[in-house]
């Protein structure tokens, strides 16, 4: 049923070569090894200011859960202690690069893609510091961001189920 009329040897010639410029404008991903991180930098202090202006309305003044308030955005700061609730960056995110990647592509929720790379570095620094992962004087950039070892990293495993009858 998944046999289509294509013979593997055939090249159809549909589509066209993508230009380097086209690729660059969409290629926004960041990998754990740092591949994809842009030039630029940001520190905790500037990050905090941007956070207050652009993020606090949805994630709370300090990014922590506020009792009695249901925020539109998830808590971002918690006890950096495995298995603590709520699951946040400090206790549940295995890679710091993911934070940069995610903020750059989809936050702030109402204006995704509007942050400069420096702003994203700053916000990442601020949130990592708030989660007690980096010191307050760290200036994040493409070199040191991938070096950060997240507390939750050691907990994560690739799927260890073998399939078949096993309940796991």
């Amino acid at each position: 049923s998944l046999t289509d009329t294509a013979k593997k040897a055939v090249k159809f010639g549909f589509g066209r070569t993508a230009t380097p410029k086209e690729i660059a404008s969409w290629d926004i991903d960041v990998r754990p090894d740092g591949k994809g991180l842009p030039a630029g930098k940001g520190d905790v202090k500037t990050g905090r200011i941007i956070y207050t202006t652009k993020c606090a309305v949805c994630h709370g003044a300090n990014g922590t859960e506020t009792p009695g308030v249901k925020l539109p955005g998830a808590a971002l700061v918690g006890d950096t202690l495995a298995k603590a609730r709520p699951k946040t960056i400090g206790n549940y995110w295995p890679y710091a690069t993911t934070l940069f990647d995610y903020i750059r592509r989809s936050m702030p929720y109402n204006l995704p893609g509007s942050l400069t790379d420096n702003e994203v570095y700053g916000l990442t620094a601020y949130l990592l510091n708030a989660n007690k992962i980096i010191k307050a004087d760290v200036v994040l950039d493409a070199q040191n961001l991938p070096q950060i070892v997240m507390p939750a990293r050691k907990l994560f495993i690739m799927d260890d189920r073998k399939g078949a009858p096993e309940i796991k």
Partner: protein, 391 residues
């Protein structure tokens, strides 16, 4: 030449005047409206999804077969539904390829096409908690369509894949710019780029104009509004595959659980339906992300004994499969349950087995326990919520 109006066209006018003379309740006594460009449901039928702010759920209890009408397909969005002009939409494939390429929607439709009927299910599909829950409440984040498009392997053959590539990133063009990393083997196996759903263009909520289809894999990985694929040696560890769609298993957190585990649910009888003593045909759906449904068993005595249900043919791989079992109810209070075995020999577990296997902090993803409905002596049917230690 004079032309008088014909048949149904003029029936509409006549009706207004003449209907008064007739019995309004007898549809044989006056002509009805004629053909139209697009049909509508009977005014007596109002099936609906149940929307929350981030998802909406398919009314499983209202469906008598396994293709979900497109307007009732469940939804799960992370930043709403983008509006995409199909004439401008392009798919970029780059990274570890011989030739990075862009394909327009028209390009994609020119490649050899294939149709595959399969389910898409959210990895977080399962709710419990109270007796007043319908199948839609419990398991409404799964739906099935006839998907048509091009095999991803055909496109990968066109760009040429570098031998170092092991994974690919798929990225949407919604405001979440949603990303997931997928093992390359899935592309050689059965992944597709699909542009049609139940014959027509994919609906906006399902990824119009194109989405990734990974039969049997977590719904979230079937990236909607797809615009980019990047081939890579390693996974990207995106937010959706680390902070989300992962779950505690004892002292570890399991990630990259792709296949949706086999599960089943009885959709009739279910809350808030009522049954009468005598023959009751128990009906439901079963499916597995790992292949075909091998068998479905039904218990009408609280799980003590199990009987084989009929499977509606054709039984397709990675597809909702309708099952039916004829029960002669003696009128006594009882519980009815279903459990599926898939072609890999996997038997749908009990909640207790899942908790034992994964520990007390078990999360909400990949939860596929056997569920039960309580049938009271008055014929009323209630969901049986079973506690588990997540919270």
């Amino acid at each position: 030449a004079a032309v008088l109006p014909v048949n149904a066209l003029f029936a509409g006018d006549l009706e207004k005047n003449e209907r008064l003379l007739h019995d309004l309740d007898d549809p044989t006594k006056s002509p009805g409206p004629g053909p139209s460009p697009l049909g509508k449901r009977s005014g007596f039928e109002k099936p609906v999804r149940k929307p929350s702010d981030i998802s909406s759920r398919t009314p499983l209890q209202d469906l008598h077969s396994t293709i979900t009408p497109a307007d009732l397909h469940f939804e799960r969005h992370h930043a709403g539904i983008p509006t995409i002009d199909p004439s401008k939409h392009e798919l970029l494939i780059h990274g570890l390829v011989n030739r990075p390429m862009k394909f327009s929607l028209a390009d994609l439709k020119r490649f050899p096409a294939i149709t595959r009927t399969c389910f898409i299910e959210c990895a977080g599909n399962f709710r419990t908690g109270k007796e007043e829950m319908t199948p839609q409440d419990v398991l409404g984040l799964t739906s099935q369509s006839e998907w048509t498009g091009v095999m991803l392997s055909t496109l990968f053959n066109e760009v040429g894949i570098d031998a170092k590539a092991q994974w690919f990133l798929a990225e949407g063009s919604d405001a979440a710019v949603m990303t997931r990393t997928i093992p390359l083997s899935k592309a050689w196996d059965d992944a597709m780029i699909v542009y049609a759903q139940n014959g027509e263009a994919i609906r906006p909520e399902q990824g119009y104009p194109i989405r990734l289809l990974l039969p049997g894999f977590e719904g979230n990985m079937n990236i909607k509004w797809l615009r980019r694929i990047e081939l890579s040696e390693a996974p990207y560890m995106t937010r959706e595959e680390t902070s989300k769609y992962t779950y505690p298993v004892k002292d570890k957190i399991r990630m990259f659980s792709f296949e949706m585990d086999a599960r089943s649910i009885i959709t009739f009888p279910s809350y808030p339906q009522k049954v009468s003593k005598g023959y009751v045909e128990i009906r439901g759906i079963a499916w597995s992300g790992r292949g075909k449904v091998e068998k479905v068993e039904v218990s009408t005595d609280n799980g003590k004994t199990w009987q084989l249900a009929n499977l509606q043919e054709p039984v397709l791989s990675k597809a909702h499969t309708y099952f039916r079992y004829l029960w002669n109810w003696n009128g006594n209070e009882t519980e009815i349950l279903s459990r599926v075995t898939d072609e890999t020999g996997y038997l749908q577990p009990t909640l207790q087995q899942l908790v034992e296997a994964r520990g007390p902090n078990i999360g909400g993803y990949h939860m596929n326990p056997i569920t039960a409905w309580k049938v009271k002596a008055d014929g009323s049917v209630w969901f049986k919520p079973e506690k588990y230690t997540d919270k």
